[in-house]
Amino acid sequence: MTPLNKVVSHVIPLLEDNIDTDQLLPKQFLTEISRAGFGKHLLHDRRYLDQHESVPNPDCVLNQKAYKTASILITGKNFGCGSSREHAPWALADFGISVIIGKGFADIFYANCLNNQILPIVLPDEVVNALALRAQSTPGAEVTVDLSLQTVSFDSSVITFSIPEHHRANLLNGVDKIGRTLQEHDRIKAYEALHNI
């Protein structure tokens, strides 16, 4: 896993509540058997005017030149609700997103982000609203997210965010969590023996 620390980027404003994983990546793309290449399908229904993805919807923020290369997404409450499909964070990562700042995240999606080196940050509504407004009015305006300092900085503001310490450490170090768990082999074996499993 590639360590995640500091991200400096302009921001995609997608300030809506309840953007579910069906919207982030519709089912017709779930038949793929690799993790790669989902970025072009991200938010398919609102991003393209046709099923074949040949006619981009100019109203969709992802199609607007000013936001195409951004690594930070701003959104509302309950982002990533619904299906557990990890294809949604794979699509976000493949599009180039490494930080999502929102008013709240669905549980499974939050865990899936952490497993893909995407940093989900929850900030107060007024800060999220202000960041979204700023991204809309000044599309190129950058925001700095510093995971080691746990800060989101823009203009003269420095906002602190919280994240459980172990999640922070895993992201900062790009830990292979499965490899780490497998070091606990003896404890797992002892549990199986104790419970006769």
Binding site: S83, I108, N112, H166, K177, E184, E192, H195
Partner: protein, 464 residues
């Protein structure tokens, strides 16, 4: 201080702390074709093996045809995904129930009906509706593919402990009011994200009126309230359901297991972080009108005015939903014509669901212009329904009788809706585009879906 059932299940499976996460042992890992291929890829990439193939069970459900048992029936991509599951299971020694097998079915229907799920277990699956299994007193939840890989490799999962919520259903539901209506009403009350961060324990005297199938419908939709899991303490109904199932404990082991199962309940002095009470005795059959399961009302109500909500965000959300759904406030549900009916999904495709739908189907014929399909949840449900003659009831009434699978709930096969189609669906999600781009989904119970098929519009099944 006493412990909740969730606390007890957590403690029982807690191996220890790993870098700040709780490491939990997983007793049953269910896999299917959609969320497992990348997990097996990851294992192969690192040269890791499946730690406990004997605790892992695979089936095919999401990507399969409901018209043909050929793996190639839905095109080359679906076929490759299905054949990849076959290969992965063969390579790692995992039992697979493929299309055509007598045990095949939707993962959350197949598992319990085979007796693979026992009270007190931890159960995971790369599918958000895994909470279904909580109806048997298990801690069951959906996970992403990276965690599927983690469980395959280690038979454990790393978790943070969730908060405890207790939902108390009280009263006896009226005729025509079923588990689906109870859970929709709950989500309507606490909201689409009201359970985020919680494990919900369902309790109350109403549960004594519900079968395990009905309880599964309730636990299944816990995720639609945002909850990590939903669970119900085992009782005599649970034990009667499990007894004699192919993979249930037998003989002396059964007797010993029953004692352990009965100890699985929250202590009287357990403290919940949140409590919600719902009196269901006056509840009407529910119909969703919006684009999340919390946007729901009784069949005897009308489409609400967005301005009727206290919360500005809910007002905005309702306005957006009504625009997508092409509905106007004040409209009676009986004035909303439908074009499609889907009876199926891990929420409502069990035998009692099909019986309830068939009871309504006997009263008429699918209305002109309406396409209605019935998709049993598993090969066993299909067989049972056919033994009871339900297939003939449906076919005579103009419904299509299909092969088991997830089907139109998410439409990974050719069972998809098109722009502008309006569907009365017994599934679990009415998100924008869920059943097909631009399609409109109304979530209802099986009887309500069958009623809508016959009337051509929503109808109060209590009047039929």
């Amino acid at each position: 201080m006493g412990q909740t059932l969730y606390d007890k299940l957590w403690n029982k499976h807690y191996i220890g702390d790993v870098d700040g996460d709780g490491l939990l042992y997983i007793d049953r890992h269910l896999i299917h074709e959609v969320t497992s291929p990348q997990a097996f890829d990851g294992l192969n990439q690192y040269g890791r093996r499946v730690r406990r193939p004997d605790l892992t069970i695979a089936t095919m459900d999401h990507s399969i045809s409901t018209r043909s048992t050929s793996l190639d029936a839905c095109g080359p991509k679906n076929a490759l995904q299905l054949k990849t599951l076959v290969e992965n299971c063969k390579q790692h020694g995992i039992v697979l129930y493929p299309v055509g097998d007598a045990n095949q079915g939707i993962v959350h229907v197949m598992g319990p009906e085979l007796g693979l799920i026992h009270p007190g277990m931890t159960v995971v699956c790369g599918d958000s509706h895994t909470a279904t299994h909580g109806a048997l007193g298990t801690l069951a939840f959906g996970i992403g593919t990276s965690d599927v890989e983690h469980v395959l490799a280690s038979q454990t999962i790393r978790q943070s402990k969730a908060k405890n919520m207790r939902v108390v259903f009280s009263g006896k539901p009226g005729t025509g009011v079923v588990a689906k209506d109870l859970i929709l009403a709950l989500i309507g009350k606490i909201g689409h994200a009201g359970g985020t961060g919680y494990v919900i324990e369902y309790s109350g005297d109403t549960l004594s009126h519900l079968s395990v199938e009905g309880r599964m419908t309730i636990c299944n939709m816990s995720i639609e309230a945002g909850a990590k899991a939903g669970l119900i303490a085992p009782d005599d109904i649970t034990l009667a359901y499990l007894k004699g199932k192919p993979f249930a404990p037998k003989g002396e082991a059964w007797e010993a297991s029953c004692l352990a199962y009965k100890a699985l309940h929250s202590d009287a002095d357990a403290v919940f972080d949140e409590e919600v009470h719902i009196d269901v005795s006056r509840l009407a059959p529910q119909v969703t009108w919006g684009t999340n399961p919390g946007q729901v009302a009784g069949i005897d109500q009308v489409i609400p005015s967005p301005d009727s909500f206290d919360d500005a965000l809910m007002t905005a959300s309702a306005k957006k939903a009504l625009a997508y759904m092409a509905l106007t406030e004040g409209t009676a549900f009986s004035d909303i014509p439908i074009s499609h009916v889907f009876i199926g999904s891990c929420t409502n495709s069990r035998i009692e669901d099909l019986r309830a739908a068939a009871d309504i189907a006997r009263k008429g014929h699918v209305a002109k212009g309406v396409k209605a399909i019935v998709v049993p949840g598993s090969a066993k449900v299909k067989e049972q329904a056919e033994t009871e003659g339900l297939d003939e009831v449906f076919k005579t009434a103009g419904f299509e009788w299909r092969l088991p699978g997830c089907s139109m709930c998410l439409g990974m096969n050719d069972d998809v809706l098109h722009e502008g189609d309006r569907c009365a669906s017994t599934s679990n999600r009415n998100f924008e585009g869920r059943q097909g781009r631009g399609s409109r989904t109304h979530l209802v119970s099986p009887a309500m879906a069958a009623g809508a098929a016959i009337a051509g519009h929503f109808v109060d099944v209590r009047t039929l």
